[in-house]
Amino acid sequence: MTTPRVAAHAARDDVLIALRGVSKGYRRGGQTIPVLTDISFDIRRAEFLALMGPSGSGKSTLLNLIAGLDSADRGSIKVSGEDITRLSESDLADWRAANVGFIFQFYNLMPVLTALENVELPLTLKHLGRRDRRDRAHLALELVGLGDRVRHLPSELSGGQQQRVAIARAIVTDPMLLVADEPTGDLDRQSAEDALAIMQRLNREMGKTIVMVTHDRRAAEHAGAIMHLEKGELSQRVELAHG
């Protein structure tokens, strides 16, 4: 049901991510339990897409496959024309470092590093001088409104501030794709709104493609489109008016 719709709303040049016939299952007690079955759809450049669905529907698994954190059993995932399912593990690590920014539900900051160092961390994988790294990390933290918290450890920041540090870390390498797994799941309403507003701005003003998994309907409404997953299959795609 998804493929015709994809064709209908995504021109070929516009497509950043193209999934074709993607399946994934997990082995439990000698049996393979299918999680995703023959998934095919496209994500446009500069799109802000929310993936929704009940627990166990496979939305986080789908996000992990798109971000190159896990490997599909079948099918292809082309990102900007490159089939990431064919990359070796170390090439995939390099690909993630260059192209993907991650925002996690529990922030996953390094507790022993300051906000600035946490943001600087992904830049250590690039050939940049220390000063250049520091400048970029400062800039990213200022972009999320934390320019005055650079020397704070994560434990000295609120949940909302930690998530903003995580967003700064996700964007500091200027990736083409941001993936967010329940980014507001651990935040109060106001902090969640702040984080979503930043993501919306990154999408609208900087043209970042964002794929976000969420349970929260209100969070999903910040996206430009919502896709629902149920029992490993895409059921519907809803374009939102503001998107």
């Binding site: 992990n64 954190l69 690590a93 996953n108 994988l125």
Partner: protein, 388 residues
């Protein structure tokens, strides 16, 4: 400092207690390891320093120590008349014809007796061994029942002090001086006139003859000639090598026992480090997952955790070696198994021991951290990110 290394270092700082306990265990092993090597080094330095490169010692062929050796007066005369022997300002050859005997004296503050080496020396003894200096009192007078004592003996034996007398070989011997032999084995000896001591001990032969060479390069010629002389049954050795050989038996024992103990202790320390590092990996799975997601390769994670374990080893080394270095203030006495006399020496810390103990500590850290680091590197990203 690279950020990932700072991450490892700070994680050690955050887990202060476990870091201190694990590094403390390693420090104790490093202490034992370094102390054993320092003890061995001290023993060797003391005995090797006893010998002088310019001196040649003659003992009876196949005698390993002076106490087993007998050289009669005729043989001693032949040795001192050789052309290679240095001639002193007084026109006499620089030679010391020596008698070596052991006496048993009670140790101070104890009922135990211990062997003490008494060396009868010739008039030229101080010229043969210029490092030996009388630092208190005076040298014994030839023909008198007088003796001088080595610096390391002071306070160790009952009645062995300047101005007092001790009784052995049916005579009272007046202690008239104390000498300093520069920390060598002579510091643990009593010296007297060889002729007087031979009379007292009813001996008519020397134990050894030590000659000072006019030219060190002529040792081979002297050795070849005298060892081939049918009137002689002697063996000539550079004095330094002779004493170095004396250190081998005890040194070998110290090294084998000490290093075996260190290795056994190190197994415990390695297990400790392994448990600590496994706990570190288990508690930081989400961080590992996040690092991998950000693009750090498996090898980077492996090295980050190995670096943490190596830092533990380094900390253990720094503490252990600092403690061991305090041992240089300690002077020990033990029975030299070769000469069967008591020998005093100090723990000596050398650059080689610093390096060896560092490598030993890093090896413990590496072995302790390797399996946990491999485990961290092999974690699946999605599983690691899901960890509680």
């Amino acid at each position: 400092m690279p950020l990932l290394l700072a991450y490892s270092l700070r994680n050690l700082r955050v887990r202060k207690l476990t870091t201190l306990l694990t590094a403390g265990g390693m420090a104790l092993v490093v202490f034992v390891f370094a102390a054993v090597l320092m003890l061995d080094s001290g023993l060797k330095q003391t005995l090797v320093a006893t010998g002088d490169d310019t001196n040649v010692i003659f003992v009876r062929r196949s005698a390993e120590v002076e106490i087993q050796s007998i050289l009669d007066r005729a043989q001693a005369r032949i040795i001192e008349s050789q052309p290679e022997v240095m001639i002193g300002n007084d026109g006499a050859p620089v030679v010391s014809k020596e008698l070596v005997v052991l006496i048993a004296l009670p140790k101070r503050g104890s009922t135990q007796v211990s062997n003490l080496l008494v060396r009868g020396v010739g008039r030229e003894a101080l010229a043969v061994r210029p490092r030996v200096r009388i630092v208190e009192g005076r040298m014994f007078r030839p023909g008198a029942s007088e003796i001088v004592i080595g610096g390391a003996l002071a306070g160790r034996f009952e009645g062995v002090a300047l101005g007092s007398s001790i009784h052995f070989a049916q005579r009272d011997w007046q202690i008239v001086g104390r000498f300093d032999a520069g920390g060598s084995g002579f510091d643990s000896e009593i010296w007297g006139d060889s002729e007087q001591l031979m009379q007292a001990f009813r001996r008519d032969a020397f134990s050894s003859v030590v000659v000072r060479l006019a030219d060190r390069a002529r040792f081979d010629a002297l050795k070849t000639r005298l060892e081939a002389d049918p009137r002689m049954t002697v063996e000539a050795k550079p004095e330094r090598i002779f004493y170095e050989e004396q250190s081998r038996l005890l040194s070998g024992f110290i090294r084998i026992i000490g290093l075996a103990l260190s290795l056994m202790f190190s197994l415990g320390a390695v297990f400790g480090a392994t448990i600590t590092m496994y706990a570190a990996v288990a508690s930081r799975q989400r961080e590992i997952g996040a690092l991998r997601a950000l693009g750090f390769r498996r090898a980077s994670i492996l090295w980050a955790f190995l670096a943490e374990a190596l830092l533990l080893g380094f900390t253990g080394w720094a503490v252990g070696l600092s403690l061991a270095s305090l041992m240089t203030l300690v002077r020990v006495t033990t029975l030299n198994w070769t000469s069967l006399s008591e020998l005093a020496f100090s723990f000596v810390l050398t650059p080689a021991i610093v390096l060896q103990s560092l490598l030993f500590a890093l090896a413990m850290g590496f072995l302790g951290g390797f399996l946990p680091a491999v485990r961290a590197a092999r974690l699946k990203i999605v599983d690691a990110l899901r960890a509680a």
